[in-house]
Symmetry: C2
Subunit: 258 residues, 2 copies
């Protein structure tokens, strides 16, 4: 799953001109069996003369794109830089392009200090991606990176709170309509973990028996002859998601409910 670091043609090695009107922001979701987390990056700014800290806050992981680069590839590249992983689940969900995106002083200062014009309009294409909370590098462009539970995030730089909220809405909608939860779990997982995932992301409690009844109708969820190990209680059976079966049996849903 890792990039072939000697392959010059990999999408992660783009060079060329940077497009300075459009960028990509990734809302990287991770699940640690307890919380839904988002990968955030520390943004600390120091006075350029005195070295005194001016402010410290958090941002999503965003990036410029190259002129010859597809949007999806730019998002994939960011994910690769952060995680070293390829084939991460990724979904474009919205474009943020208000002329008033950058209004706060801290944001303007930061852009200036990084050689960008804080008055020029930049559109950003929002992607969200899903991974098991794991395998993540702790540095990105010299800045600290960390998982933060979504429920604890109250403030972010730029318009990143808006982006996060929209991403979360898109994720919930997707989770309700497609079996995407598996992207947030390890390959082998228990039904309780899956249930917890739904409960945490959707923010509702679910009945264990009804949940399992529903699950048992999904023939692409395969029970293994294997159990959890090293837990201090009855170990649960492990399951895998069979994408192949899912794609085959996927019938177009037709339920104009609500």
């Amino acid at each position: 799953m890792h990039a072939e670091t000697n392959n010059e043609t990999t999408v992660h090695k783009r060079i060329g001109t940077i497009n300075n009107s459009v960028s990509v922001d990734c809302v990287i979701f991770g699940f640690d069996f307890t919380n839904l987390n988002v990968l955030l990056v520390d943004r600390v700014m120091y006075d350029e003369h005195t070295g005194v800290e001016l402010f410290s806050d958090l941002t999503l992981t965003g990036n410029h794109i190259f002129e010859e680069e597809e949007l999806d590839d730019a998002a994939t590249r960011i994910l690769y830089e952060l995680t070293g992983l390829e084939n991460i689940y990724l979904e474009q969900f919205y474009v943020f392009g208000s002329p008033k995106r950058i209004t706060r002083q801290n944001d303007k200062k930061w852009l200036e200090a990084n050689g960008r014009d804080p008055e020029s309009r930049i559109f950003t294409v929002g992607y969200y991606s899903l991974l098991a909370t794991d395998n993540v590098t702790l540095q990105w462009k010299g800045r600290n990176v960390r998982w933060v539970p979504v429920s604890e995030i109250t403030d972010l730089a730029f318009d990143h709170m808006d982006i996060l909220h929209k991403a979360l809405g898109a994720l919930r909608k997707k989770l309700i309509n497609e079996p995407i939860g598996f992207e947030l779990l390890p390959a082998k997982f228990t039904l309780s973990q899956l249930q917890r995932l739904y409960e945490v992301v959707l923010g509702v409690p679910l009945d264990k028996r009804n949940f399992r009844k529903k699950i048992s109708r999904m023939n692409y969820l395969i029970p293994l002859d294997e159990k959890q190990k090293g837990v201090a209680h009855k170990p649960a059976r492990l399951y895998v998601f069979d994408r192949h079966i899912y794609e085959k049996n996927r019938k177009e849903l037709l339920d104009f409910a609500i």
Copy 2:
């Protein structure tokens, strides 16, 4: 519902610099009780010396945006120019930004003839909008505008086929999950018209009795003491959609089916 044409502050009167990296394309859907239609614009190009027609095809309705303009406002503006209507239902659905968007010769020629650099990368934000097939001006920027049934559209300029397909997918998904069909019908409509709408957009036949049973569970669909007039058969009862009731009773759907 019409713009106040003397009000200088209306969003439809934007002036200022044009942003030349990002544009907006609108897929304008209309329903005429038989087909799902899209509003298309003729694109005819003539040899600049001889006046001979070089090619003739169709495009979606797209437009530049102004530097100080919100994306949604730009889309609203296009709709207003075309229809004279405000408060049209509108949904951003995807950004198209491939570096390879413009590859065909016709497209390059057209851009050049219109004073634009065919090699410069332009991102376009896709919106779809819904209206009853009605009340539409027949000219836009001196070009002919017409409704074309979606099923008959096989070729469009630029990457507009991609945009159309993506819009159609987004519309179907939305129609299944939210009562949005009313936007494609006149304020008063019959149940048969509503059923036909679902059948046409989703491309499936529906059982009349089951459809009506389902409908009768939706308390925001209000039957009127009024009937169709001037039809050569038993006239149907008219209904209205009550958005207020819908918004009140909207409970977050929770059905991670498929």
